[in-house]
Subunit: 357 residues, 4 copies
């Protein structure tokens, strides 16, 4: 009999349920007896002892369901060592609940922030296995995260929809794609939907190069331009600011988003009408795509295997087409970003896509 805790933390995304189902199904298939404690709303549930027991029925039919049956919340790593508003020591509280419930291990699904706290709990002596969840695909130690491909599908679909209008009206359209720090999602959705210009955090842009690309299109008879802009896109000029200065600048924008600044600049410099679309949270919602369902299920199954073998302290990741275990201390606190010299960037440029650089 194993006693397993499970929680999902950070922004939700597609295939969280598929991954949890994978963990539990693989253990059940092995014949292992187990009790599953589902902590509610991320680390918050672990801190305050808020959980419910999960059985087979809870995992039936959730392979295709978006969101997370456990709820999620953001519990900033930055303040994890600080007491809560009632003076409770959050880390001690998590340890307390873990030991009180006599858990064999804790399965944690989350992104970058989540992994920092997961590693801290490992350092504190808890048995931890994690799964890489994020639409940003920015987790160090894995080539892929679940949620990413589903978000690419949605963002691509949004840009596809805008395409017909852009074509009919002859405008410049900016679509702001999620991704504050990395551009994987924007790059892939942009390439998939035939965007003409793609602006991502890893390649600071020069607005004049952007305008040049628009004008070149006009010269060749294309009356519209589609620009995919990551939330965290940044101009070459702003890239030279300190982090603090840049944050301040953003706060002073009417729309606290680079897209509107890019739009205003283009409108001023080309005289063309520019429209901004911000699909926002829908990028992390809805049923996971087939790819993510398979991928999350596989990761979940391998997590189940690790637990059965009692191997703890790992994130289950994907490297060079194999599912691997990555030590948590190697993952925590690192960010995987697009290499501006990556083959896919070069290929995008070969296809005529401008990055404004």
């Amino acid at each position: 009999m194993r006693r397993i805790g499970i929680l999902t933390s950070g922004g939700d995304c597609q295939a969280l349920n598929a991954a949890m189902r994978g963990v539990v199904k693989s253990m059940a298939t092995s014949g292992e007896q187990m009790e599953v404690f589902g902590f509610l709303n991320g680390y918050r549930g672990l801190i305050y002892g808020d959980y419910r027991m999960l059985d087979g029925n809870d995992f039936s039919g959730i392979l295709t369901r978006g969101g997370t049956i456990l709820g999620s919340s953001r519990t900033p790593f930055k303040t994890i060592r600080e007491p809560d508003e009632n003076g409770l020591d959050k880390v001690e509280a998590m340890k307390h609940n873990y030991y009180k419930l006599n858990l064999d291990c804790l399965v944690i699904l989350g992104g970058n922030g989540t992994h920092k706290t997961a590693n801290l709990l490992r350092e504190e002596g808890l048995n931890i296995v994690t799964l890489p969840k994020t639409i940003d695909n920015d987790l160090w130690g894995t080539d892929m995260t679940f949620g990413f491909q589903s978000a690419v599908d949605i963002a691509t679909n949004v840009i596809d929809s805008i395409h017909t209008t852009a074509d009919s009206h002859g405008r410049v359209f900016i679509i702001e794609i999620m991704g504050h720090k990395v551009g994987f999602l924007t790059l892939n959705a942009g390439m998939a939907s035939g965007a003409d210009i793609i602006l991502i955090p890893e390649i600071p842009y020069d607005i004049d190069k952007v305008v040049e690309a628009i004008n070149k299109r006009k010269e060749r008879g294309s009356k519209f331009t589609i620009i995919a802009v990551a939330e965290g896109a940044i101009s070459k000029k702003d890239a030279k600011l300190s982090k603090k200065e840049y944050k301040k600048k953003l706060e002073n924008l009417v729309h606290p988003s680079v897209s509107y600044e890019v739009a205003a600049d283009i409108q001023k410099k080309t005289g063309q009408e520019v429209r901004v679309t911000v699909p926002g949270h829908m990028q992390r919602g809805g049923s996971p795509c087939a790819y993510d369902r398979v991928f999350a299920s596989r990761l979940g199954a391998e997590a189940g295997k690790l637990i059965l073998k009692g191997e703890y302290g790992f994130m289950v990741g994907y490297k060079d087409r194999e599912i691997v275990k990555v030590p948590l201390q190697d993952v925590a606190g690192k960010l995987k970003r697009l290499d501006p010299d990556a083959a896919i960037i070069k290929e995008a440029k070969m296809l005529g896509i401008s990055f404004g650089d």
Copy 2:
């Protein structure tokens, strides 16, 4: 031999191409010889004599394609009698091109603004047949417009996607749906996606009733609330302002949209986190849904029939499940709005949906 001009005007939407294909296919099937002049970018093409000849190939494969193969533009009715920046009399220019090309008639696809100008051209003696295009479904004289059902599908899909995140994070989510003057789209997408609160222009809301509905949900254990807000939703207080005062008020908002105001009010009054999603232009893009393809094709076919019979001065509409011809003078300048006492509103309320009234 008939010489037919065709143009699409106003914001684009789904099934414009399907409708034009319907007109041309029905005439070709009848064996009628014809020449089709496609005016580019709406009335603009007619004003400046900018057109291209269309043949069968242009209409092949466009049944499923979004946007308009002719391009579109907004040509405000308000200023149609004013000369353009070079002193050109726009109405005279349209008549001039019509007669110069020796057209038998002009097929015009558009929404409310478009129909005012179409009726003006009819008054000026041109032979006009129109088709009712708009995602708003606000055209007088027809129970349905094409584009509407496709937009409902997209908006529903957006709210569906948000649902999983709302559920996982326990927040209030506002989704702003297109519709400055009417609420058909918001109402239908809201009902289809299980929105809890729906705010539309036809039913001014009281923010306290909105808050009350959110709180009632919380009491019953629902940790999230989904609110579908039409672009033109208006509070009871603002509904008492003059048009001018209200416009001024909107201009002073940071986000010139009611959604953000509603969000701020709710956040203030409930303390709950509120997020706003604005899907925007994607609602009028992409491939038309099956319903719209059939509907637009049928309208187009009947428009072709009118032309063959030489019956001009009509919009082809849909009344009580029959396709009918509606005199243009009856359509122009009127707006079809939701009746706050309509059965569908009552049913929505029976289902527990709050309109904040």
Copy 3:
């Protein structure tokens, strides 16, 4: 306090859950206290007293879910008066369970067969309210049934997918669409996807006319032809057979489906390669489309209202854009079919679609 039984019978379809949610939500919103008995697997559950109590949680999140949370089965009306294999009188058993549970009424969701039994139960003195469920849209007394528009979407999507292959390979493709007795689904999906030929039960076809239409396309340079064939399409020759003779004929076919016969005939007469695709049950599965979700919710809400008012013996239907109550005796045993002279058929022909007549 009301005690309400509910069951879904016959082939499942989209929006059954949405409709049931509508009934229950509208009653709950009214403040009415109620107990809901969900009979499992159609009339079977009522016959054998197999049910479970349903509460609010059962109806949460099911608006968008396909299938039926109660399960369904076919219980042929033809043999309803015959005892079951253990000698049980099925009608008496249903009455027995109804009275034993002290039900106020029974809500029944189903198609044609289901309505015959529902009417029988009404004649036997039970309080019945029904909802019109079928992808075939062949229920008498209502302009529309839920499930239909969702099935149109799926069938359209199937034909769309085939279109690209047909175009690339220059073949004749037959897609067999559900509908043994009526052609609404085939007609709408065929029109929506640009099918060239549509064969439906209501318009017996002449294979030579079908071949003629294919050849005419070839002459005009179209190298492929798409044919949408309803399951119940019938040739003019076969239409003259007695029902018995025809049934026998079908049984002797290798593939007991007209599509393969049509395919063989065309291949023989034109020499062109013909492929048959049979999407089958997927047409009744998956999440309901936005239209069906709204429509089923509205019908459900009005059913709830009837129950609250104690008005029994009706199907809730849709006539001339209003939701109406139709006496069960008027519905039972009748079939709504396409009128070969209907406007939509004429329009389809105007668009160049051949019906092989």
Copy 4:
């Protein structure tokens, strides 16, 4: 100035157009002058000199379009050395046209059969670059082919749709997925949609094990079972037959498909109702998914680069997350199959999926 021939051969699939666009766009972006000869309907166009000149317009807007703008056909490698019905030497004819048009190279998009002929043309001295197209993902030398992920999406969607009906009616449902020789597609679609049993060519099944899996589900209270069967699934017994004997056996089946045999066996051995759905050609149709659009574009871009560098005789493939060039002689005549011991198979089994072995 380069003179480039291009053709698509074999069954069509998604992203053929995206890949061709990639080739041409990358060359155009490089500033290279070129003339593009599009051979129609596969090798047939090359044999009979049937082509049309392609320019930028032909490649605009095709990123998202299914099928192939060039048409395709199957030209069996087995008989490529045999003269056609008029005595024409097909290989000589292809060489003749290649030299007559003074081509610099020939870009060929296709699957296994196509690559054999492509390699033959290379051996005959033509400059060849190929791209790996197939929904089967069975090409040797590349980890992935375009079309595959799109087909997974469609097949998954089909099984999803069936799921709701299976659940409602408590039946065994068999869905036959494309793949005569390999099971990648069936495996992935099956895992993505939560199939309970997956039968693929690489793992011959024992019908008694299949029945055992169904019964085990029944015992655990699951009233339905979903089985994904590859077209080329084979029983252990049949796997012992010679190729010739097996072919004969298949020909004697009423439905020349293993699915119906599996269905009949299950029905006989369990008494449960079994339904078969054959989505067929729709699996290779429709708009490519985002993954395939990006992937095909990247491959196309790299093919363009090879041409610019004058490196011929290669297939552009994908190995260990890098785009690579693979000598045609290494690709031709080999088949990539699923390894029954692959991690993904083990994981599927860990998730409780039975392969009937």
